[in-house]
């Protein structure tokens, strides 16, 4: 699944405040038979929001499961709040987890489900805490309907309520924005940010760059089971934008335009696909976009289409891993 020998990216992590580490991951790997899901990953987390960013199948969920103690690492060690989350019972009461699966105790009402979570976590006033948690996620604690009748977005919020009802110090959220409508999504992002600002260590997995951007978080980029990059979102974004971009240009005369572009600053290469199509490689997309029209006009050729070829997140991750 992954090349174990690819060196890690040079983006330096923001140094953690000393003595406040919540999660310490030391060279963990996880494999299932011959398939390597996570390979030699190390990082440290502290209070605030951290996003695990990566394409589907990158190993984000496996990573979160290991942080929550649901899965033991095949190699390396995970320390959460100074303990092993898989074997240390008390530390589980300080972790809140929103798992990826949708299944809940469907015949229960939301208040019953969240109250049960509170009781099992030893919360003193479980019903009041459950009501507060449901209020926080904008669900009605007095709703008489069973969870089975809830939409995907409502279930997602019930899952979050059961994860925060005991006021955990570490919150693990596996794709928490999935299934939410835009308004709920905004509210959830705001809530996650607030929890992070209040000192909770929140780990959010996502494969959507824009979501992560709005979380304003530190980012761990996971690709093919490896930690491809880590740092604040701005650093990662810059790194992604600095990579060579390929842009397809459809024109009335590909050869003439290609020859002119090769003399233009910021253009690293041009390949002619056909009489009316060429692919331009550049490391400065903004400058290219500003110059392509004047260059075409000066060359007396017409432009039909200018389209990026590798703007999708998957190709960004591939680039990061391959560096």
């Amino acid at each position: 699944m992954t090349d174990l020998h690819t060196p890690p990216l040079p983006v330096p992590p923001t140094p953690p405040p000393p003595g406040n580490e919540r999660v310490s991951v030391d060279h963990i790997s996880k494999w299932f038979g011959d398939v390597v899901a996570v390979s030699d990953v190390s990082f440290t987390l502290w209070p605030g929001v951290t996003a695990l960013l990566g394409p589907n199948g990158a190993g984000k969920s496996t990573m979160l499961r290991m942080l929550g103690g649901l899965e033991p690492p095949s190699q390396g060690s995970v320390s959460v709040l100074g303990a092993n989350p898989r074997t240390d019972r008390p530390v589980r009461g300080r972790i809140g987890t929103v798992p990826q699966q949708e299944e809940l105790f469907s015949e229960q009402r939301a208040i019953e489900f969240v109250s049960l979570a509170a009781q099992l976590c030893g919360v003193r006033e479980p019903t009041n805490s459950a009501r507060a948690a449901l209020d926080t996620v904008e669900l009605d604690p007095d709703d008489k309907r069973p969870i089975a009748t809830y939409s995907k977005g409502m279930r997602q919020r019930v899952k979050l309520a059961q994860a925060i009802v005991h006021e955990p110090e570490l919150l693990l959220l596996d794709e928490p924005l999935a299934g939410l409508d835009p308004r709920q999504r905004l509210h959830m992002i705001e809530l996650i940010r607030t929890l992070g600002e209040e000192g909770v260590c929140v780990v959010v997995s996502s494969h959507v760059l824009d979501e992560v951007e709005r979380l304003g978080s530190r980012v761990l980029v996971i690709a093919q089971g490896r930690l491809a990059a880590q740092g604040n979102f701005h650093d990662i974004r810059e790194l992604m934008d600095d990579r060579p971009h390929r842009i397809r240009v459809r024109t009335s005369d590909a050869r003439t335009l290609g020859a002119t572009l090769l003399t233009t600053a910021g253009i690293q290469g041009v390949s002619i696909g056909s009489d009316d199509e060429l692919v331009v490689q550049t490391d400065d997309v903004a400058r290219f976009r500003a110059s392509i029209a004047p260059v075409a006009k000066g060359s007396n050729v017409r432009l039909f289409e200018v389209a990026p070829l590798d703007e999708d997140l998957e190709s960004v991750f591939k680039y990061l891993v391959g560096r």
């Binding site: 929550g68 649901l70 699966q101 299944e103 489900f113 049960l116 009781q119 099992l120």
Partner: protein, 235 residues
Amino acid sequence: MKNVMLMTRRIVRSVATRGRLSAIAAAGIFGIIIGFIVDRSDPGADFEPAEFLGRFGLTIFVPIVALVVASATLGTLVEEKTLIYFWLRPIGRWQIALAGFLASFAVLLPTVLVPMGLLGAVVGDGSDTTGILLASAVGVVGYGSVFTMLGLFTQRALLWGLVYVLVWEGFIAGLSRGAGWLALSTYSWSALAQRADADIIDKPVQLATTIIVSAAIAAATYVITTWRLTRMTVD
């Protein structure tokens, strides 16, 4: 114990569905009706109530009901991926296992003992009734424990449970005395034979031995279930 009772109640609500309870009740009523018909059809015939109670109750009804209920207690949590909501909490794995066993017994005891008691009253006398009640309780503990554990190990617990009941207990256990010792039905039939004072089984096991073996089976399967919960990865 508070956490164990909370989880037990939750599991019971998941397992004791209307459909499942209706099917069990229908099977029990069917047995009672058949018992009534057989008992009344030919008053001169050599009808042995304990034998009928053993064949219907201990060979079919108790193991099948135990399989359907007990394999679902922890098994349904795994299958529906809701075990995670117990597993994530700061509670011992032994507590989850205990809740599973208690839930199995809590559902099985009334659903098995009520129809078996009625069936005993319909076809037999007082000793037959107490015999089938005791034997059913022994069966509930034995089968309930084994099938609760089985539900955690495989999502095909119903299939493997049926193979055990039909192939091992129904066929192989009858081939030799040694194999019979490894069949739960040997102990439930022995309890019925002893309590009803009926000659329905060769060399029945002593009642004290039956109770000790049932308790040992429950303890062993409980330990294995706890061990499994400690080692398994939870979806």
